[in-house]
Subunit: 443 residues, 2 copies
Amino acid sequence: MKKIGIGLIGFGTVGAGVARTLIERKNLLSERAGFIPELVSVCDCDLKRPRPVSLPTGILTKDVKKVLENPQVQIVVELVGGIEPAGSFLLKALKNGKSVVTANKALLAEKGDRLFSAAEQSECQIGFEASVGGAIPIIKTLRESFVANNITSLYGILNGTTNFILTRMAEERLSLTKALKIAQDAGFAERDPSLDLSGTDSSHKLSVMATLITGKFFPASNIPTEGISGITPEDLQYAAELGYGVKLLSILKISPSPSPLPLRERVWGEESVSLATYPALIPNRHILSSVRDVYNAIFLTGDLVGESLLFGKGAGMNPTASSVISDIIGIGKNILGGTKPSPLFTGPGRKLQLETDFESRYYFRFSALDQPGVFARIAEILGKHNISIASCIQKEEKPKKAVPVVVLTHTAKESAVKAAISVIDRLPVIKSKTVLLRLAFDG
Amino acid sequence: MKKIGIGLIGFGTVGAGVARTLIERKNLLSERAGFIPELVSVCDCDLKRPRPVSLPTGILTKDVKKVLENPQVQIVVELVGGIEPAGSFLLKALKNGKSVVTANKALLAEKGDRLFSAAEQSECQIGFEASVGGAIPIIKTLRESFVANNITSLYGILNGTTNFILTRMAEERLSLTKALKIAQDAGFAERDPSLDLSGTDSSHKLSVMATLITGKFFPASNIPTEGISGITPEDLQYAAELGYGVKLLSILKISPSPSPLPLRERVWGEESVSLATYPALIPNRHILSSVRDVYNAIFLTGDLVGESLLFGKGAGMNPTASSVISDIIGIGKNILGGTKPSPLFTGPGRKLQLETDFESRYYFRFSALDQPGVFARIAEILGKHNISIASCIQKEEKPKKAVPVVVLTHTAKESAVKAAISVIDRLPVIKSKTVLLRLAFDG
């Protein structure tokens, strides 16, 4: 049986999971792959830390050249994370004719265009299944299973930490701080959770999928991104009363959609794509509202397959290692068969524009003085901006004090909503910044 | 760009969808595949029926040899359905050195062993993504994405018609007959719905996945199968009150599970597999209970990935065509690259036994005379069979008449339950056959 040499850079949690699986499941993997995926070199700056696997003697090194310039290494697995030096390692590997596998969403979301074109130039392959949704096979599904489809929309719960926090806040009425503390104590939230809470990590993953779906590079920095820091248990409570759950969603929508010509080639020039990450209200009946705790899920619509959902763990040593190994086996087979990598998932001559003024239904929570005429004033301003009210909750009565007034709107333009809220927030009867959330899958 | 010749046998609904996609999306598919998948011959016994696609002149034929013996055809797509002549067509195609793609679950579930060994002998490939769950990419996920995993359990909602019927019965309190009529009028239930209602269609699909997961052929005829014919709106109502939805589930469980050695090679000799299809109560909180109407879903656990779910349309022209095309592109790439097909998803020297006496929690609905001592008598018989009662509902009071008594049990053995119920059903105070359902994901 032929061998494919694997070099690993980054021997942390996921790296150890990959090494352990390659070593302890060598027979099983070889039988299933039709070749032996052999770990020949592992590089990390920390040689001493205890890990849950024993490497063969002599393969652990601090010298990255022993991976990048090792003639035995055909596939370089990068699990360092961050932009640099990870990006240089990958470019160097590709330049040296080695295919690469990475879980590095931040790098792909910021420098993906350089990496993809380097891979194309060197005729090497690049695997990144583990960069989005841990164990969820979304990359293979988009590139291979749904190869005949035009994807028209995608809604992802892409960050386990924020989904855990929102679940605990909704189900146990915890504050965000308390729920975050539980996640940190359990070891799955970072000490510095800002990439998660701000929605940036989710937008990194959305960027990777957007590139795959459209064939055009949309760096995460161009994606409008809101995190969950402004959400209170009170908002989750109102949402529940109205029949909704709140999730941090990353959204891609291609317009016009669905295509009026479902089976013909699309007229690409007429399209635009909107991309955004924000916390959204999802009707309880929608399957995405059943995605609880640290789980991730991606709900997408293709013009042939219709609505689909992939659900699973978004992170962790073994789930992530599973996706890395799947890429290793797929790329190894292609190397041995001389098969070229699939091109990026793209349409012929597609010219998509990024649309930043998307439409949605909205949830507002105003803090308004409880006095006559206040609601009429708010409604009047919304009406002037073409925003029409669908329903409203005002429970407490505290004459002359600020009380929460919750409003759900019909579909409105983001630009109109921002303009209206900025007027409303300057009214003397409004006592703090209005909370603004969007609705998904509803109208 | 190179061409791969496609021959199609069976030009019905799905066949027309495949032909239409290959013809109308030729450019898109070629760009994504790296070769041109060209439809060169289409065979059907009905040449006149109108279809939603125009074929190039001269390629439609009644003569199956024009596909099976056509030197231009490298991949034969079989969409005839049924055991014969579909099986002979596929064997002949493989013998002639052609790879095959099929959506024929009945054939795979009854003659899969012959087809798989014929494919192995001829070194040809066999694609069957469309045979399970329409657009759901379960076959590729099991073989490729989860290649490093040992799958420990799988729960599938694999039949759209029965899921639609159960959803309508539960949500609108319709009778089974009425809900079936709606499904037939809407065109997605067959005139003769017996394969669906009896659970046989679901067990066909379970057989295909069981073969893939265990590497051993388990024909559907060996799988204990119960359908939904015995379910009443009353049972769905009781289940809802107890916090459950009812779904027709196809189940695979490997025991012992989870493995005590998660990352070592498993000791295959010690394992058994239980397979069954039956209607089951699922807790409302479980994501599978959100799978409504004609949707299918497969919830599976791998020892690395943990819990995963794939959800989508289970049938229909375009979803099924999408999966067939995905197989065509995958196999075409392998043919051009000279890559060998992946072996079946198997463990080294795996010797699994089929376990037919599975364990579960149970739901019973007794029709018992409303008189003193009856419940005690039932409880006594259950107790003697080591079946312990977890909860119970008896609402109506109709002295001296039969009333429904609903009991949920703790975990019990199927054999003990069958024995106990056969004793209970012979009691004079029991007025009709006890309804027996199982619980999933709960205890």
